[in-house]
């Protein structure tokens, strides 16, 4: 990706995504954290589109910016007398050290490795290719995933039903 548009788009989206993620981690109010989280997810969707995964980008926007925040919002509203703040426990410094160390390790590996990626073109239209793959090569995981979704739905209903 050498062209100016891609480079500018990458840096803008990277700043938005990471900045919104940091806001999510640092802001004290839970609802504001959810809003920042949505911005971060939309940034990732933009990065997907930049990586020529158009179907995934739209699916990401649909699920992570449309569905999951709504679930989180419901969880916040259905726990009315719980604390609304997003504070850390006493383990914040060990957690920070551990998270920083892990991120540093992964970055070191990612930079040190010679990935041997050539300058190849992005994919064209991915929606139909993904559909083909799901129904040919990955048909068994596809079915398992649908059973998993059903089980999760039933589990969620059973967990919160009032008896």
């Amino acid at each position: 990706m050498e062209d100016v548009g891609s480079v500018v788009a990458f840096w803008a989206l990277a700043v938005v995504t990471l900045g919104a993620a940091l806001v999510t981690a640092l802001v004290r109010d839970l609802v504001r954290a959810v809003v920042a989280l949505v911005v971060s997810f939309l940034g990732v969707a933009g990065l997907f589109v930049l990586l020529s995964a158009d179907f995934l980008g739209v699916a990401q926007a649909l699920i992570y910016a449309g569905a999951i925040p709504v679930l989180i919002v419901f969880a916040i509203v259905l726990t009315p007398r719980a604390a609304r703040d997003n504070a850390e426990t006493g383990m914040r410094w060990p957690a920070l050290v551990l998270a920083g160390a892990l991120a540093g390790l992964v970055i070191a590996v990612a930079v040190a490795t010679d990935w041997g990626d050539g300058a190849r073109e992005g994919f064209r239209e991915t929606a139909s290719a993904i559909g083909e793959a799901l129904l040919n090569r990955y048909v068994l995981p596809f079915e398992v995933a649908s059973v998993l979704l059903l089980a999760a739905m039933l589990g969620a209903i059973v967990l919160v039903r009032e008896d």
Binding site: V4, G5, D29, V31, R32, V34, V35, V38, L42, D54, F55, V58, A59, A61, L62, A65, G66, A67, P69, V70, V73, F74, V77, L78, E125, A127, R161, E162
Partner: protein, 415 residues
């Protein structure tokens, strides 16, 4: 560049004019990115202008039509037949003070009206007003419509939450519950369209309908019906405007908003309504085609005529139908529309398989499917309604569980 492009004076497609101007600019030596950015800006400005002008017109039309339907006059003081009423309203809204409640979460309260408008306008980018008049003809257009409209949910919740007003919060929770329920119905109704056309690009969907001379409304009557109902809920229009039901919770999630912020919510609602009408026209009613008339009349005029006609349908529904109670509305989505939509997708897939496997000609298969689907639609609606509505009282839920959570009032039925 689109293959449809012709000379600049060919106003059957305004894309020709824009294309000619851009070509003229690039011949003067401007680099590629200038024309690229310019074409985007032209498209966005055109869509915005169209949306705002249409909204101004429809504020007047809606109020006059509703007046007629309810045997009263409607606005008739400002200008001839009250035609300047929207301008007066706009001036009033602009001049009003914007009040912020003392306990409001200021950041979210300020952001919500902006974030509500953004998705409503973003959706309009994918609709082909005519072959060359589309800002971005994405190859995942159908999914894009759903994805972008679904992001409005969180903005609505922000508005209700940050106002720190119980009616706002009730309205926001009702709205969120409605949106996620009817989004499922909407997605399933939309899903049957790419099954037939084999493409999620809206331009291809229109081309498919033009090619087979078969609007998808004939093949998917059930899907269209469910989509209209679900869309009326999504854009908060009566009979399902319970998120802002005046007689129950003041004005719902925008109770605390005034001035231009309130105007933003109104704008978002109207533009979302236009987007829904545009979706219906593009996917089910043949878009900018009208069986050959598009050769003589500009395609965008046909598209707009269909769009306004579809929007009129929503006004008509608002004028005729009473508001539905929230638990009835939720039950209707999950118990009635959702099973029917699952059946509809299955049916569409079966018909597609029959069509491709037998290799029958389209002229034979499509009318047969149309007749079959209309018969099935009637049978399913009547049959499923009888089954779901005829359950004995003992088998119904004792108390709609969601009602208390999302702020409804439930009346204990008489023994």
């Amino acid at each position: 560049m689109s293959p449809f492009l012709a000379e600049w004076w060919d106003l059957r497609d305004l894309g020709n004019l824009v294309g000619a101007i851009l070509e003229w600019i690039s011949e003067r030596g401007a680099p590629d990115w200038v024309t690229y950015v310019l074409s985007g800006i032209v498209g966005i400005v055109a869509v915005l202008l169209w949306a705002i002008l249409s909204q101004l017109a429809f504020i007047w039309i809606e109020r006059r039509v509703l007046g007629r339907m309810q045997v009263r006059l409607g606005p008739n003081r400002v200008g001839p037949w009250g035609i300047l009423q929207p301008l007066a309203d706009a001036l009033k809204v602009l001049a009003k003070e914007m009040v912020t409640p003392r306990n409001a979460d200021r950041v979210l309260y300020w952001l919500a009206p902006i974030l509500v408008v953004v998705p409503a306008i973003l959706v309009l980018a994918v609709f082909p007003f005519s072959p060359g008049m589309v800002v971005a003809d994405l190859n995942v257009g159908v999914l894009y419509i759903v994805a972008v409209t679904s992001t409005a949910t969180i903005a609505v919740f922000m508005a209700g939450w940050s106002s720190s007003n119980k009616y706002s919060l009730l309205g926001a929770m009702r709205s969120v519950a409605m949106l996620i329920s009817y989004e499922v119905v909407q997605v399933l109704a939309l899903l049957a369209v790419p099954v037939f056309t084999g493409s999620m690009r809206l331009g291809d969907v229109v081309a498919w309908q033009d090619n087979y001379n078969a609007w998808l409304v004939f093949l998917q009557p059930l899907g269209l019906l469910a989509f209209i109902i679900a869309s009326a809920v999504e854009v908060n229009r009566s009979p399902s405007d319970i998120a802002e039901a005046e007689s129950e919770i003041v004005a719902g999630y925008h109770t605390e908003y005034g001035g231009i912020r309130w105007g933003m919510f109104q704008l978002a609602e109207y533009v979302a309504g236009f987007a829904v009408a545009a979706t219906i026209v593009t996917l089910w009613l043949g878009g900018w085609t009208l069986w050959g008339l598009e050769e003589w009349v500009p395609g965008w005029l046909i598209f707009l005529a269909k769009l306004y006609g579809t929007f009129f349908l929503f006004i008509w529904m608002r004028g005729t139908l009473p508001r539905i109670r929230i638990d009835q509305l939720m039950g209707f989505a999950w118990k009635f529309l959702l099973p029917l939509m699952l059946l509809n997708v299955l049916l569409a897939g079966l018909e597609k398989v029959v069509w491709t496997e037998t290799g029958a000609s389209a002229g034979l298969v499509l009318p047969a499917f149309a007749v079959l689907n209309f018969a099935l639609t009637a049978a399913l609606i009547v049959g499923w309604g009888a089954i779901a509505g005829g359950l004995s009282p003992r088998m119904r839920a004792k108390r709609p569980l969601l009602v208390r959570e999302v702020g409804g009032i439930y009346y204990q039925p008489l023994p």
